[in-house]
């Protein structure tokens, strides 16, 4: 199977600071992809470059074979590459209903609006109870559900999640992990950045350790590692 997304030699950063150094990776060849690694080493920056929020200085990013570097974030969303950003800041004064309507804003997603709304409500029944409530009044877990729900409304062909369980209480986190597994079983390929390695091992088939803005190690299917080995890679040397 061809990779649905490939990142080829991307260098990117903020102003004069370079964060990503010639990073390359692929997604979709073996299933879901997990990214992990220490904080501040460029995982979020990579995702921002993929979804068009940040212009890479060089390199190629192919989605479904087409180079999307230089495309607007809107065009990339329009193609079905959907990114749930870190930290679920969302739209604090909009209601859940408004967020879902926004999720279905792109012409590609609009015909599927009703069908996707049902899916989201089935996945996160809690959201239906709070449908007219403002996002700012929701708990952290609920906000993350709204983030993911909004992304599902965009009818993703590839879904990118940046630390979806960050800062959630253990019980809520488990529920959310189960929902993400459900999404994957529903046939949407995922790229997930997570600190929780157990969750990544369960969810993904291919792992990349991102260190200093480049891929330090790639773990392909079959090369299954145990938690200890990964932890020693994580903390290095």
């Amino acid at each position: 199977m061809n990779p649905i997304l490939s990142v080829e030699g991307v260098t990117a950063g903020y102003g004069r600071v370079t964060v990503l150094h010639d990073i390359s990776l692929e997604a979709g060849r073996f299933g879901n992809v997990g990214l992990f690694g220490p904080n501040g080493h460029g995982k979020t920056t990579l995702l921002r470059a993929i979804s068009g929020l940040l212009q890479p200085k060089s390199g190629r990013i192919r989605f479904d074979g087409q180079d999307i570097v230089g495309h607007s974030a809107r065009a990339i969303v329009g193609a079905g590459l959907i990114h749930v950003p870190q930290g679920n800041r969302l739209f604090p004064d909009l209601s859940i209903a408004d967020c879902m309507a926004l999720g279905a804003y792109s012409p590609r997603a609009r015909p599927h609006e009703a069908e996707n709304r049902e899916k989201v409500i089935k996945l996160f029944p809690k959201l239906a109870e709070r449908w007219r409530q403002r996002v700012r009044t929701l708990s952290g877990g609920e906000r993350q559900m709204v983030s993911i729900g909004t992304a599902l409304m965009s009818h993703p062909r590839l879904l990118i999640l940046d630390e979806p369980t960050l800062g959630l209480a253990p019980k809520i986190k488990d529920e959310l992990c189960a929902s993400v597994m459900d999404i994957s079983r529903g046939g949407v390929p995922l790229i997930v950045v997570e600190q929780d390695i157990e969750f990544l091992l369960e969810l993904t088939q291919q792992l990349y350790l991102v260190n200093h803005g480049a891929v330090a190690t790639e773990i392909k299917p079959g090369e299954s590692l145990d938690h200890g080995e990964i932890m020693s890679m994580y903390f290095g040397h």
Partner: protein, 291 residues
């Protein structure tokens, strides 16, 4: 009785003009996070364009809407030229104060060159006068009092009941997240400016119908709109609308009881006191956003 009628009428009238101006300023602030200091110039330009069209022989009923539409284009162009290129800069708020002031003064001088310093007047919306509650008022002013809330209500409906309005409210709250649901953020910024400029242009047409116009006619209304927006809270558009009428009534009452001379001092006194007690404005919520 006539005192009450005079204050009520004066307040409604001034409040309408302030609301018309302030709401555009607030719309631009909430969506883009900048203050547009050419907003007063938009008002002037709207009035002059309407005047020019009437001079060319168009009936007011055609000239006025055309002027408002032209102003939408002017707002869009101004946004694209002196605001959009600066978006993303850390000091954008201050830089845009300078660029919009500069653009405004350029347009003002342009207007002076094209139309000259001689004051002009455009036709009233409705000619004639009447008496209400013992107070003589012009039909033009009554038309403004009636039309303004309708336009503000339409704007509210647009923002709160349409998909495009929802997109504008979303951009006001989180630009990155707006990109990530596929909104055309640049176009929405342009739209916010276009709407604001149209409303300012219409306010100019209102004003040019009862007062002489000059190229600097927009500077005092801009100042008032800034006061209204700061007083009402810069986080929404409903705050400034209420504040506009509140200030309108306050001014009407002050000038009735204390005279025009004392009104600005009293207004600023109340404003400063209010902001000491509620720095975020009287009707504000905590965040930026259109509600």
């Amino acid at each position: 009785m006539s005192a009450l009628a005079e204050i009520l009428f004066g307040g409604l009238f001034q409040g309408s003009l302030y609301a018309m101006m302030a709401v555009g300023l607030a719309l631009v602030w909430t969506t883009i996070g900048v203050f547009n200091f050419s907003h007063g110039v938009f008002m002037m330009l709207g009035a002059y364009i309407a005047w020019q069209l009437v001079e060319l022989g168009l009936p007011a009923a055609v000239a006025f809407p055309v002027a408002v539409v032209v102003m939408a284009g002017v707002g869009w162009i101004l946004q694209a030229s002196v605001v959009r290129p600066l978006i993303g800069r850390p000091n954008i708020v201050l830089v845009v104060v300078i660029t919009t002031l500069a653009a405004g003064s350029l347009i003002e001088n342009g207007a002076l060159t094209i139309w000259g310093p001689r004051s002009k007047q455009i036709p009233a919306l409705i000619a004639g006068n009447t008496t209400i509650g013992g107070v003589g008022v012009s039909l033009h002013q009554i038309a403004i009092i009636v039309i303004t809330p309708l336009i503000l209500a339409a704007l509210w409906m647009f923002l709160n009941r349409t998909r495009l309005g929802l997109a504008l409210r979303a951009v006001a709250q989180n630009e990155d997240a707006s990109h990530l649901v596929g909104l055309n953020v640049t176009a929405l910024y342009g739209l916010a400016f276009a709407i604001a400029a149209s409303l300012a242009g219409l306010a100019g047409i209102f004003m040019g119908g009862y007062r002489f116009m000059s190229p600097v006619m927009g500077s005092d209304p801009l100042l008032k709109a800034l006061i209204v927006v700061v007083f009402g809270g810069i986080s929404s558009i409903s705050g400034p609308i209420f504040a506009a009428y509140l200030i309108g009534f306050f001014e009407a009452a002050c000038s009735y009881y204390f005279g025009l001379y004392w009104t600005p001092a009293l207004l600023f006194g109340v404003l400063i006191l209010t902001l000491m007690v509620r720095p975020e404005g009287i009707f504000a919520s905590r965040s930026r956003g259109l509600a």
